[in-house]
Symmetry: none
Subunit: 413 residues, 2 copies
């Protein structure tokens, strides 16, 4: 017995006036999603708890069965892990942007004109060469990923992720001082180190030849590093240890790859999987079928639905759902539902109206053998609410799926 | 976006033989309640947890989103707050009755013949003048409210609400000694202080001219103060801080006013709102519409359904429900459901058969924009159980309502 769990990022929504008060899921053509609902068991999930809008990091941890409220330790380290940066227990990692500020530290462009990855790499290399005072007892890693995006890792013996962002989050505001968020010595010293580092970065960036070259081409300088989302690796037991399974993750978004790595999963890089609306859906589904031969559990994550929602693009969201439906059609044809459970859910509701993550529950459907199939025939927010799974919490899904495989441990004797 | 939450005290019930095995809600004519159910999303709520009969204090705290099981700290302080008695953190407050006992301390009348408020005020003034030994390091406030009802507040540095009642709760039993309910020094010393105070009260009451006057008119003397429900103000963050909202409470019952004050809400006194079956329903609903102009969240509490239930009066309970239905009719006409959520629930089930609060869940319906409307077309205990909200806990309702307003904070990033 095997399990495939498909997570469509932000796929759930609220009814929209533009869709005649249907949700994008209700409006989309989705024969395969409906087939899963019809032949399986359905329900709704509060990823964290009712009414609470989940971040994708916390929601993914929950859907892998972890108590996100108890173990969540910031986004930075998960994003760093997923971006291929080596990160050790105790390291504090930040998501960073190479950005443009004016002489009074006011942010003019949070992405330095979506700086080319090549330019960013040149700058990152220069920043990495900065020598910190030996007395600080701290090392750092600065690594650019795609375009303006980068990761900063601080390594030392007494650090804390309880520090604020230097990234003000919007244009026209000044770069913030990083502040400790609790009274610990660790938080105070981490804030001090990061502030010093940011100042050193600025000096190096200001004098860099890369920025002089950019100025010649009328490109905004990348003259500051904005840091946000300080985090450490959450202390979780790997899925292999909890359930005795071999688990694989197929995702493009660095954050999800990071979460899955933290859970001890094998992370597959699929060519053409981009985490955008243009991602190669076929390549990803092929990879699922391939991986299923060698492992017990495959998580397939698709980001496109969330991207469309944050852009407030209803048409694009419906299209993304229809593409996901085609993926599932391929899976339904190419996996054996007599020996495989196929589950589909979303990590959270993203409203295309508010363009934000919302606290409404998400639909879930599980197809496969030996299920108590219910009467639900359609896969959407309202139809699934009538299903046999009722309303469950995010962290309950994984034990349900693993229970079907006989992989959950008996409690009591 | 705004929210109105209507709480009908003890409105939920069990099926009754006298109503042909329907509940009062099922038997009542209630077009507006049904309209809310039909155009909205429904469910059932366990105010505290399944099977546990909630007190109105704990249930109201839960429906405001607080973890009642964790923060509940007795009824006395909430009742005192709602009665307009100033109460500070650390103060221990009791609900009191002026009552009649015989010479061997046996209770003859728990309400001293429902003593007139004027007589009670005279006596309270005399009791307030009692001087405590300086060594006790304690002050007290004794304030009568309506008829035999009064509040006793003890103020000092090392007090505890973990003490028992002196009120035996029924006729024909002796006044109880107040006892510490845990082994703390604070509980022991508080019990000692209250017992001394009760003895001092008795001395003053015995010799009071008011009681002599009452004897002349053949009225039972108010010769004892019965204390119950020791409590402190619960340590909760105000709603304004949790959700960033301006919140108003419209209620007549002192307890509910106290709970709402503890939650940092503005409490409106509506002329004619009495907390009885004769309360001015129209004045209360008009106040809701008025308040909605200046705040984000209005709680409207109606006590009449609970009063009828405790009296075991089925006919009166059905009538009270029909009056609440008219109130909701007024609200449906006078608030804009394109920008307002209207929720209706009960704080607990009160059985008109057992005349007690019971642990059965209560129905809830929410109408308003952007809801995943379900198929439920009637508002009652059984119809709502089929709704899209499923079965939730009391403390989950407020995050759900606030999530719809975009007022809950994201968990994770």
């Amino acid at each position: 017995m095997k399990t495939v769990l498909v997570i469509a990022d932000g796929m759930a929504d609220r009814p929209l006036r533009e869709l005649n008060w249907r949700t994008p899921l209700e409006a989309a053509r989705k024969p395969s999603l409906n087939q899963i609902a019809e032949t399986g068991v359905c329900g709704i999930i509060d990823p964290i708890s009712p009414g609470i809008p989940p971040g994708s990091d916390a929601a993914s941890l929950a859907l892998l069965g972890y108590d996100a409220l108890g173990i969540y330790s910031g986004r930075g380290a998960l994003e760093a892990l997923g971006s291929g940066v080596k990160i050790l227990p105790g390291d504090v990692a930040f998501r960073c942007n190479l950005a443009t500020i004016d002489s009074s530290m006011v942010v003019l462009d949070r992405r330095a004109g979506r700086i080319a990855t090549e330019d960013a790499a040149e700058l990152a290399e220069k920043l990495q060469r900065i020598k910190l005072k030996q007395s600080s007892n701290v090392e750092f890693v600065f690594k650019n990923t795609i375009q303006h995006r980068a990761i900063l890792v601080i390594r030392g013996s007494r650090l804390s992720a309880a520090v604020s962002d230097s990234d003000p989050g919007k244009l026209g505001e000044r770069v913030s001082e990083v502040k400790p968020l609790d009274h610990s010595l660790e938080a105070r010293s981490t804030a001090k180190i990061v502030n010093e580092l940011i100042r050193e970065f600025q000096k190096t960036l200001r004098s860099s030849s890369t920025n002089k070259e950019r100025a010649k081409h009328n490109l905004p300088p990348a003259n500051v590093v904005l840091c946000r989302g300080a985090g450490t690796i959450p202390k979780v037991r790997p899925l292999s240890e909890i359930y005795g399974i071999r688990a694989t993750c197929i995702a493009a978004a660095p954050l999800i790859k990071g979460v899955c790595q933290a859970a001890g999963m094998k992370v597959i890089n699929v060519k053409g999987a981009t985490g955008t609306l243009q991602t190669d859906y076929t390549a990803k589904t092929r990879a699922v079928v391939q991986e299923l031969r060698n492992c017990d559990f495959v998580l397939l994550h698709v980001k496109a639905t969330d991207v469309a929602s944050h852009d407030g693009n209803i048409k694009q969201k419906v299209e993304a759902i229809e593409r996901i439906d085609s993926m599932l059609g391929y899976l339904l044809k190419n996996i054996n539902l007599d020996s495989t459970y196929l589950a589909i859910t979303a990590d959270h509701t993203t409203s295309t109206l508010t363009r934000n993550h919302e606290g409404d529950p998400v639909p879930v459907a599980i197809a496969g053998p030996y299920l108590r199939v219910d009467d639900v025939t359609k896969y959407d927010e309202r139809a699934c609410a009538k299903g046999g799974l009722h309303r469950i919490r995010g962290l309950e899904l994984m034990p349900i799926l693993m229970g079907l495989l006989g992989k959950t441990k008996k409690f009591g004797s």
